[in-house]
Symmetry: C2
Subunit: 473 residues, 2 copies
Amino acid sequence: VFSKVTPALVDRLRAIVGAGNVELDDLEPYSHDYTEDFRFPPEVAVRPRTTEEVARVVRLANDALVPVTAQGGRTSLSGGALCVHGGIALSLERMNRIVEVDAENLFAVVEPAVITQALQEEVEKRGLFYGPDPASRGSCTLGGNVAHCAGGPRALKYGVTKDWVTGLVAVLPSGEVIRTGGKLMKNVTGYNLTQLLVGSEGTLAVVTEITLKLIPLPKFRRTMLAPFPDLVSAARAVTRIFDARIVPCCVEFMDRAAVEAAEKRKAASFPAKGAATLLVEVDGNDEALLEREAERVGEACVAEGAPDVFLAMDEEQRRFIWDLRRSIGEAVKSLAPYKEEDTVVPRARLPELVAAVEEVSRRHGLTAVSYGHVGDGNLHVNILKLGVTEEEWRTRVPAAVREIFERTLALGGQITGEHGVGYVQREFLPMAYPEHQIELMRELKRVFDPKGILNPGKILPDGSERRPFGRRG
Amino acid sequence: VFSKVTPALVDRLRAIVGAGNVELDDLEPYSHDYTEDFRFPPEVAVRPRTTEEVARVVRLANDALVPVTAQGGRTSLSGGALCVHGGIALSLERMNRIVEVDAENLFAVVEPAVITQALQEEVEKRGLFYGPDPASRGSCTLGGNVAHCAGGPRALKYGVTKDWVTGLVAVLPSGEVIRTGGKLMKNVTGYNLTQLLVGSEGTLAVVTEITLKLIPLPKFRRTMLAPFPDLVSAARAVTRIFDARIVPCCVEFMDRAAVEAAEKRKAASFPAKGAATLLVEVDGNDEALLEREAERVGEACVAEGAPDVFLAMDEEQRRFIWDLRRSIGEAVKSLAPYKEEDTVVPRARLPELVAAVEEVSRRHGLTAVSYGHVGDGNLHVNILKLGVTEEEWRTRVPAAVREIFERTLALGGQITGEHGVGYVQREFLPMAYPEHQIELMRELKRVFDPKGILNPGKILPDGSERRPFGRRG
């Protein structure tokens, strides 16, 4: 259905972005993201520098019926950045400028390839704060965060990417540019295209500029580790913390296998750990109040069965704990080939979900490691290829994943909380929504991208690009 | 283009909702909202009780090509609830049940006609908090809040309606029901239909159930009034408050005319007032900390020219001030016929906007009263029909409004912050967006509502229902 990249097209791409920014040889970096071991090389990688260049590239591709997959830090965990139909990898790596930090109005304007951590550090220098904090913040880009509506541990208190995006500049496949929102806390001028684009994984438009809300930087933080005999006690402690009207900025959960994987990889040891370990962080602007909050968090944990609670005494200890926590993803994935899921349920149902994951994995003879954001109900499940044959892996995993998703949905949850549907979850979308709702999404896709050239093979189950006419009307 | 409501259709409506819930006689209440003096009677009003009944009514109307305008509290200030093409007023008044307050997961599930204040009070009884607080909270409904993405004074700290909606049940014109999101803090499973529907003013679907996030109730509040010699000093005080890393929950601005209108209407007096008066409220869970914050807010105001700052000593004084503040809208509107605008700019540009409004009004020989949410840049401008002839009113107002919008847009603002485009702003939408972006919105509308029966005459400029085929592709 798509056309191939021809030498003539390559010449036209060179004319737009310059010969040095059209890559035909070293396509390996553009062929994968952080999703399992997938490799989908594009036919060509293009590195535009401006919205105008993006518009010209995309229009050219649209006219030629060549797929375009926008790429940022390629840290997607759902295959969002994979060029599954080949075509053009539209790498935005050169659009990496922080355009403005507007401290007076409390907004930042950035190009899509700004690294998340780079923005965090830049605004923190000025006493400001950007909330979303995905584990890959050192290498993921804000454009990628927008594409997937990235979350992270602070979502509990500070929300996810969508809660911080107030405006976008985006290029449609036609080459037309739309500008949505702005440095505005309130805006109801027409349909909310900003929020429709956030989380759309580059399938509707290519985002080339992002306006982000900022808030004053919370001055103080207290970080604790609480070991529990089991997850149910840990979850009860979280409820008790909320009952005390404390909203921590993070409540992270790690099972024993996740803790051990991180410790092994970093050759370091968590100062406190149990069958279920919670990492709790509170923040605020009043140190004395924060001390009291930290004490009350500790009391809540002890009341629910934590034998002791470790409190980081300084920034160094805090960093140490967080480095270990952030290494879990990579550590677990380094143990063996894996299949990762990103389930999310109402917070209080998390113990049931963890129990279901354990039961399902055990029954299928599979090894699962779970960790994630117990404060917001988001559990990362890694099924590891340990002690199974290739054949067992191939047959058991899809069946187990399907069962885990069934249990997740039955708990009022959804199949992906922050990684996106992407390439690896799309076959499961019909579990989440009835056909007429998926068809509605297909039609939205067609409004933006009638030829289906933008990041094809993502979100929508197969067939999405093929139906030429709408069902409705 | 639309068909009329026939006796046969009325019979079928009666069969769906019961004869007692089909109103043909007393249609006056269904003919207006809070927007100026507009009257657009529907041909029939229907009061369904369930999602299923809504679905059957809407499908019937869609098949018969009869317009359907969903109505809640009819407090819209942009004509959002007006039946401008007649047809069916779909009053959701009987769907007014708080389905669930889930204190464990911190979510509420409500039917669309629950009064905003009723939910606030219900959750506050349980130590929980729902953030959005539109001035009309005593009579507006949560469904209407969702339709318009209602804001209010607390948006500064707590965001607007969209930031609290995590899930919807909605009926499409086909009668199909979609379920989006849920009791989930994170969810990226497919396109964000939830956020596309919030603020879509009932033009895409009829929302029949809403899932709302809750947070622990802030225990303490301190409310202050600070009079300033001019708005520039007041705005500087706001910047100084933020620089001190204090995020108040409200910073309200009233010009002298707004203060006087409220005082006259309520026969009461603000305990402090100036050429520009700020109402500042801080909240939190630690009373001592809050006292300190209130002191620092006071210091910031005095440093920027407030001769003194009034601090409400108890809940009674606080209520007194807020009652006066909330009465401004009605008070100003009772002075004379009026035209209200709902401009929004980046916060720090507000003094420029206020100056522009004054300059433009004066030059056109018109009287304008301004008040609003200085903390989030949202200014309500009321142009009053005082000392002008009918002819002058008819010609001067549209010209003045257009100029005010031009100045607003030039300041990086938008033409409506929280009232919605509705009926009264839609002719100005082409000032806000280029034609291709409006056409994109038209195509989104057509995906949901191909026959254009849902709340026709709203948001999109004329012609939106008439183009049978998309421009794209």
